[in-house]
Amino acid sequence: MSAEPEFQSREAKRIWADFSARLEWTYRDLPREERDEAIAEAQMHVLEACADAQGTGEADRLNAAIRRFGPLARRPSRWRVPAALALQYGAILAIGTLAFLTLALAAMMIAEIFNPSGVGLWVFPDGDWSLSFNRQAGGEEILGTWFIPVMMVVCAVLAGVIYGVHRLALGERNPLSAWKTGPNDAAS
């Protein structure tokens, strides 16, 4: 059912092929029959608009008609797929790790209530330090009663980082969203 216009210029043929490919991509989530109809309908529309458009050449008129039709999704470059996937899986890994760390610190805050002399941030004479549930021989606990407030601040910061990573890498506009965008429903 798709339209096969007979453009004369190579430029117009290229623009038409690009427009058709973008239509295919935009409507890719529709069932086959609906997609073919939607593409054919859009192509007929642009061909008619092209015939009515002002311009010196057919490429200019076709461009004008496509502009009036409105924005269409463009298939992203193939090389971006692995990069986006790596970023997304990296974000999932980072969120998991940070969430585990946050939970561990939260567990230490609870343990601090029951074992205040053991749980803490221990610093050793050689400069090493350790977050521990148990008293560390040779080490000095430096936070004391500030342990819970400090850990609460650290947990809040970690939660903020988790939220930020989620927004950037897994939210609605995540790097993979370009591959998931359906046709625009945009009376906007």
Partner: protein, 116 residues
């Protein structure tokens, strides 16, 4: 752009979404039409002058699913077939109700019926 333009543009964008289907139904009640014809009519409505023409198709598809319109491909002398849309009885009924709401809104805006 002045603050007034900014507010008006935002309001028109919201309002346009609200009465888009009513305008489409209204156009189709005047007679069956295909996409390009519908767009030409629609562009005469305030707020629709710069309408991205492709945006009507997802809305028409949704209206078809809702049973407000039907569509059929019709062969033309020019060669390429066109998809014509027609309102259904249900669509006409919905349009009547939409117009009633629209009229009431107009009455309220004219300060009539504020107390009713």
């Amino acid at each position: 752009m002045t603050p007034k333009d900014d507010v008006l543009e935002r309001w028109i964008s919201q309002a346009r979404k609200g009465y888009f289907e009513m305008l489409l139904l209204s156009r189709l009640q005047a007679g069956r039409a295909y996409g390009y014809q519908i767009v030409a009519s629609l562009k005469r409505a305030p707020g629709f002058e710069a309408l991205a023409e492709g945006t009507i198709y997802p809305v028409l598809a949704r209206m078809k699913k809702d049973g407000l319109v039907t569509a059929e491909w019709v062969a033309t002398d020019a060669g390429a077939p066109r998809k014509y849309y027609t309102t259904t009885a249900f669509g006409a009924d919905v349009l009547t109700e939409m117009r009633r709401v629209w009229k009431r809104m107009g009455d309220v805006l004219d300060n009539q019926g504020m107390d009713s």
